[in-house]
């Protein structure tokens, strides 16, 4: 059992466990952990992703328009992001590759 990470930190970790992902996919995956919180909105996820990209820890590498005509951006982790996670991700999270058991 592990303790929840701050949302942005968890998003970075999640991106590291999948090849590439977008805001909507991440929301589906992280719903069991953060779904009941007021900050769990698409705007917040998009903002975190744009900020992390501006801080050079993730890259955007694919874009498309979905059925609703909305822009979807796919992100993947880069070397700097991997380095940060390796160094600063709490030990209990280091081995987690899928959804953890949270308390």
């Amino acid at each position: 059992m592990v303790e929840l990470l701050p949302l942005r930190f968890r998003m970075l970790h999640y991106i590291s466990t999948v090849g590439k992902t977008c805001a909507e996919e991440m929301m589906k995956a992280l719903k069991p952990e953060y779904g009941t919180e007021k900050q769990f909105t698409k705007e917040v996820f998009i903002e975190h992703l744009l900020d992390m990209k501006a801080n050079f820890v993730i890259d955007d590498n694919d874009v498309l328009i979905d059925d609703k005509g909305e822009l979807v951006i796919y992100y993947s982790i880069n070397d700097e992001g991997k380095r940060l996670l390796k160094k600063y991700l709490p030990e209990q999270w280091q081995k987690i590759k899928a959804s953890p058991v949270i308390f």
Binding site: E3, L4, L5, P6, L7, R8, F9, L12, E37, K38, Q39, H48, L50, D51, M52, A54, N55, F56, V57, D59, D60, N61, D62, V63, L64, I65, L71, V72, I73, L84, K87, Y88, P90
Partner: protein, 338 residues
């Protein structure tokens, strides 16, 4: 990195990126404007504190003011984060290394830099101390280049230097000669302030790769305020000032309004740093000296001296250069990646 995707999607993404850049610049300028408001209102609040003698005016009063400003701003931000349902994020962040880095940033930018600033002024005189401390955006940019590997365009450097010169012209006071016995120690303290503020921005931006700026700034303000209250105020008689202020509803109310502006400003500064990098964020925040002049002239009928006017124009030109690529601006095409 090459991005795949169809033409329309790429165009929409280009728009989103441009919007993001513009948002960072406006938030940075807003942080400068609200910091100018904070300075003016804080100045007003200080006039409402009963006189406590010259010694108190030198250290106790400014440090107590810094403590109340940070603590009250931290409380305003707690309300903001509580309303946004993010209080649990504060606890989560404090259990991680990046969260603790924000605490270190708070100590450098709060107690260390504030004390260095005040001691620098008192030992080396304002002419020299203010000149050194005004260099903090340059220090922050150099540190961000070294530690965060952030690329800084020559245009941004030039704009920042113009802003620093403008700030110096605004705060210019004739030198009194370096004859104080602690003159060189004063210069060291002033340098400590510039390094403290510069390092704060770099450490905070590092932390914000992993935690939300809204949370980082809340941690920063509370850590700084509480540390000044516990470790510094008792040694300079600062608690006497705080108890006097708390007993006067008008004074504490004015301090609370100033702190609201400080909270908004710091939130904006951290957000801008996280969006457009330390160099641009600091340079745009540095426009506060100009906003302070504008507010004082408009609302408090302060005389607009030649120094204030020239300095403000220099800050404005500098900030514009930091924010806008003149070539792209006049072509009105594309967006600013600078």
């Amino acid at each position: 990195m090459k991005i795949a995707g169809n033409q329309t999607a790429l165009m929409m993404k280009g728009k989103l990126d441009a919007q993001f850049d513009r948002k960072g610049v406006f938030i940075g300028l807003f942080s400068g404007c609200t910091w100018g408001i904070n300075n003016v209102v804080l100045g007003l609040a200080l006039t409402l504190v009963p006189s406590l003698g010259d010694d108190a005016a030198l250290y106790a009063l400014p440090l107590a003011a810094a403590c109340m400003n940070d603590t009250l701003a931290g409380l305003w931000l707690l309300i903001y984060n509580g309303w946004g349902g993010r209080l649990q994020e504060i606890v989560r962040s404090l259990k991680t290394f990046p969260g603790l880095m924000v605490c270190v940033a708070a100590l450098l930018g709060g107690p260390v830099a504030n004390c260095g600033y005040l001691l620098g002024i008192s030992m080396a005189g304002p002419a020299y101390a203010l000149t050194i401390t005004a260099l903090y955006p340059v220090v922050g940019s150099i540190l961000s280049r070294i530690f965060l590997k952030q690329h800084i365009l020559p245009r941004v450097w030039a704009g920042m230097l113009l802003s620093v010169i403008g700030a110096l012209v605004i705060s210019y006071v004739p030198p009194e000669g370096g004859n104080s016995e602690n003159f060189y120690l004063g210069l060291i303290f002033a340098s400590l302030a510039a390094i403290g503020w510069g390092a704060e921005a770099v450490l905070a931006v590092f932390g914000m790769s992993m935690i939300d700026p809204k949370i980082a700034i809340n941690i920063r303000e509370l850590t700084s305020g509480l540390c000044i209250a516990i470790f510094i105020l008792p040694f300079v008689g600062g608690w006497a000032v705080v108890s006097q202020v708390v007993a006067l509803p008008g004074a504490i109310g004015t301090f609370a309004i100033a702190a609201l502006a400080a909270g908004v400003s710091y939130l904006a500064w951290y957000t801008a740093n996280s969006k457009c990098g330390v160099a641009k964020g600091m340079a745009l925040n540095g426009t506060y000296v100009m906003w302070g002049v504008v507010l004082s002239v408009v609302f408090f009928s302060q005389e607009l001296t030649q120094n204030l006017a020239i300095g403000s124009v220099l800050v404005l030109i500098g900030a514009t250069l930091v924010a806008i690529n003149p070539k792209e601006f006049f072509n009105k095409g594309g967006h600013n990646h600078g």
